[in-house]
Structure formats: structure tokens, C-alpha cells
Amino acid sequence: MKKTFKMQDLDCANCASKMENNIKKLPGVIDCSISFMTQRITIEAPDDIFEEVVAKASRECGKVDKECCILY
């Protein structure tokens, strides 16, 4: 499944690319792309663990910038 979510408080472009790299390394993530401009993240992961992956991705964003998270 591939889905796009809005992100909250994504303030720095470098953080966005860092988040993207980190999320790509998460187990289960097939692909991930963050658009700093539109504050959107697209995650591709297997259907059965999709929600779990998104939750993990959101935590990963928080690690880079504590105020940032995925709205899902």
C-alpha cells in the first residue's frame, strides 16, 4: 500500500531529508518520500503492517525534530 499523509511542524529542509533517509531504513518500509514544500510524506509498505510502519515513521520524525509528526 502506498499512502500520503500530511505532516505537522516540518520546519527544516535538512531535517526532512534526514527523516526520509531514516524512515527508508525502517524494517517494512518499501519506499518513502517527504516533500518539505507541501509538508507531505508518502509511505509505501506492505498492507498488513502498514499502520504499524506509519506509527514508527512518525516516531522517527520526532527523533529528528521533536515537534514534527505525521498526521494519521
Binding site: C12, A13, N14, S35, F36
Partner: protein
Amino acid sequence: MTKKQKNQLRRLILAGGLFVLALVLPKAQGWAWAYFVPVYLFIGYDVLLDAGRNILHGQYLDEQFLMAVATLGAWGVGEYPEAVGVMLFYQVGEFFQSYAVNKSRKSIADLMEIRPDYANVLREGSLMEVDPEEVAVGECIVIKPGERVPLDGVVTEGESLLDTLAITGEAVPRSIGVGQEIFSGCVNQTGLLTVQVTKAYGESTVARILELVENSADNKARSEAFISRFARWYTPAVVGAAVLLMVLPSLITGEWRTWVYRGLMFLMVSCPCALVISVPLSYFGGIGAAARKGILVKGSNYLEQMGKVQTVAFDKTGTLTTGELQVTGTYALPPVAPEELLRLAAAAEDFSSHPIAQALTREQRDLPPAGKVQETAGHGVTALVENKQVAVGSKKLMESLGIPCPEPQTPGTVSFVAVEGQYAGYIAIGDRIKPGAKEALEELQAVGVHKTVLLTGDRQSAGEALGRELGLTEARCELLPQQKVTALEELLQEPDRKGTVCYVGDGINDAPVLKRADVGVAMGALGADAAIEAADIVLMDDDPKKLALAVGIARFTQRIVKQNISFALVVKGLVLITSALGVTDMWMAVLADVGVAMLAVLNAMRCLRYTRNRLRLP
């Protein structure tokens, strides 16, 4: 400015004041640090905290960490004012950067402000204001003057002028009346309209456009990928160099203080921020500028490809021609006058529904009635007009009537006319060339597209004639739809080809060709979902002159991206060299770093303001 930003601005001003105070106040010997520590903590506490937190999360080498190390290092070598000043500059830079980026992000988002907020739906006899998503297909909505059309539908009552600027980039309003299709996102200007909804919000034009633009970031350009790869090794490399610079010369010379100071400057320029921000921002600005003109680009990679285009292949019908047949020439044999020939032929064909008949009759008024009409499918018509026996049709019809006729001198479809059994001339019927098609091709050549190719299923003579008339460099004719893909592949494989190959079609039956080309452009996409789906770049209206504009925007964006990349690399490189040599001090290093990022952001914003005038057409 957001509340967060206002608070930050206040803090910056206060910290600046305190810093100046700490600099000018007379200080007792050995107590200077006591004046600077409070200012440093006041302006830098969040950076220090973030740096600590990031280490706990295993994130080394991020911006905050590097700034913390650099400024703490400055304390260590006894440069108190530098430590505070660098932190202050860094914060000021961050502030302006976030302000500029947010502002540009907003101005791009504003361009996309075509989302309708509400719909006035007629339910149980009264008007209700609801969310467009709650309106079902088949319900009737009322659109008042000045309101945005919330959903796609068909007008059932009223007439008005529609401002389609936001959707097509076309400034001239369209008139709309009963029975016509209306598309969401346009603005109703003058009259009250009642519309029966034909599509749910999620499938409406406006929702599809927004989705397309929002997802455009998924397809990143090669330069963007390059920057993220670069950013990944740049920081560790500079930090490594900083450590070497601090340790190695010091071991030899023993001047630890000098070399540590120089190494710290490396840390200050080790963030690739200017590049990481400005490159995507440039692309997004370019995509925004295009969107404002009714050109939807599905990703920065397509913008990149469009900038390199040198070969453009065109579909014919719906792209260069309108697809409507029209009379392109009348060749009458004296004594019959051309107008008379046309009038008689039109009268005979008046009742036929054949496309050629429609082309003949379209521009004729007050036709005399025709009697004894006999239509032979595929051949033509014979009829009695003003007591004259008129035959209109193909060569086969003339042969069956025993009327000899010459070979026509014009390409394309021809209708022969005989009056009273005598050959009287012929009428050439052709596709109507789109207004602006010729200029569009001239513009494309002017912006450096060397090769323009027509791919058509038409006969060789007709295709070549159209090619000559429009000034195309090549016409590949008599192609079946599947052969168009092969023809395009031939263009892609041409050995002397330098740029990319773009294919322009209407997306109706050429989806495979659109997909195969480096860049597939669909025209006239307003209301044609298949076209939006298949293409990489979508022209909302069917003005072929948008092509050169799209190339122009793409080239300009590409140029800005290159400027930003090279500018940032050069400045950072210079700072690294001068720092290592000890020519510059910390102030310069941090100023250069922050300044580059700011300038790059401002430069990137120029993409958004691209206009047609910049094409510099002859």
C-alpha cells in the same frame, strides 16, 4: 509571521542588545567570561538542548550538534565574544531562513488555493451551505456570482461568464449556458447558475489537480537526488577534515589554540543547508509558476526533462488541429463560380450527417431546398437543387455516374461536384489547424527545439502538407496507433540526439506513446481524466503555445538550481580554504554560511515569478 516566529524575533533582538552591552561594558581582569555566559545561554540554550537530545537519539553530526561543538570550542580557546556572536548569527540566520522558506511555501500554496470551501446545494426546496464532499452526484447546486464552482456538473439554468484563470491560466473568461459542462475550480463571474452535479468531489477536476500537484514531490529530479547524496557525505567529510586540521598541524607546530580555532570554523560551514533547502524550493517554485499558467507538472524530474527537450513529436488531431473538418479550398471549373459550387454542394448535402457534409454546410446560410436526395453510403449524394441535378461525392461516385474528373492537386480529402452531369470542380476538406499552432511551433524552434515531428495516421500527402504549413521538420504518416510507439522509439534511438524527446497528444488514444516518451504532454485536459492520468505534464486548456512556455519555465528553473548549487559550493569551498589558511575569522565563516543559505532561498523564489516575457522570443 507565526507566534513562534514573533517570540523568536523578540529573543533575537534582546540577545543582540545584551551582547552589545557585554562587549562595551568595562570588565575586570579575568572576569570577561561572566558577562558573556548569560547571553550565550540565553541565545543558545535550545541549540544546546537539541544537540544533547539528538545525541541520545543517536543523531550525531546534525546542525545543532555542530553549532554547539563549534561555539563551546570557541569558549575553550578563550574567544568569548566569538562564541556568543557565532551563536547569535546562527540563530538570526535560522530565523530568516525559516521565515523566507515559510513565506515561499505559502505563496506557492496560495497559487493552489482553488479548493472550494462550500457548495450551495438545493435540498427539499431550500438552499443549504455544505461541504463540497457531502454533495451527491445528481443533486443540484446553485453558484452565485463571485463564487468558486465547487463540483463538476452540467448547467441546468442560467448563463454566465466563467473565470478559468486558476485552472487553465487563460485570462479571457468563458461564457457558459444551459446544457454545458462546468468544471470545479473556476469562478462564476456574472450570473446565477444552477448546476446538476455529475461527479463526486473526490473525482472532480479541482480535487484531481490538487492531488496531482501535491504528489508532484514524489518524483524528484536528478539534481535533488544528487543533493541528498551529497549532503550525506559532505557533513561527515568536513567534520573529519576539521578534526584533522585541529590535531595534525598542532602536533607538529604545538600551536593548539590557532589550529583548533581554524578547525572550529570548518564545523560552522559543515551544514549543507543552503543546498538542501534551495534546490527543492526552486523546483517547487517552477512547478508553481507553471501551475499558475495552467501547466501541471507531475514532478520535478519531468520539469528537468522538459528543460532538456530538443525533439518534440506531435499527435495531429486535437493537438495541432481541432479535429473539426472544414472546407480548406474550392476549385471550380468556369463558368461555375466557387461560391456557387460550394452553395450547391452544401444544399445537396444539407440532410446528410456525414462529417464531410457537416463541414460543407457549417458556414452556409439560407441554403435552397434540395429534392430527390439520394445518399450512397461512402460515396456521396445526388440531389435536385434549384432544378439542377447536383452530385457531390468521391471519385467513385463520379465514376458510377459516368462523369470523368481530373486528379485533384491538393492533398487531403476531396469532394467532387458535378452539375447537370458535367464535372464542375471539387472542394477540399481538411482538419482545421488550431489557432496559434503555427506560432507555437515557431516559439518552440526559437527556444531551441531542433526537431518537430508529426506522428499521424493520415495519408502521406495530407500529413506532409500539414507539416509544411506549420513548419514541422518531419512528418511520419500512415501510422496505426500502435505504430506511433515504434515511431517514437525510433526518435528516442536516434544516434545524434542530444536532448530529450517530448510527445504531445490529447491523451485520448495515445496513452502508450505519452508513457514511452521522456516527457509526455497532454493537451486540453480540462474534463479529460484519461489525459491527466497518462501524461507527465498536463496543459489544462488546448493552447499549443503553452509548450514553449513550459520549456522556458523548465530551463529557467534548471538554471536557478545550477546557480544555487555552484554558488553554495564555491562559497563553502572558499570559506574552507581561507579558514584553513587562517585568513578569515569565525565571524566571516558563520556569515558566509548563513548568507549563502539566505541568498539561495531568495534566488530560488525567482522561479515562481517566471513570466512569458522571459522567453525572449524574436
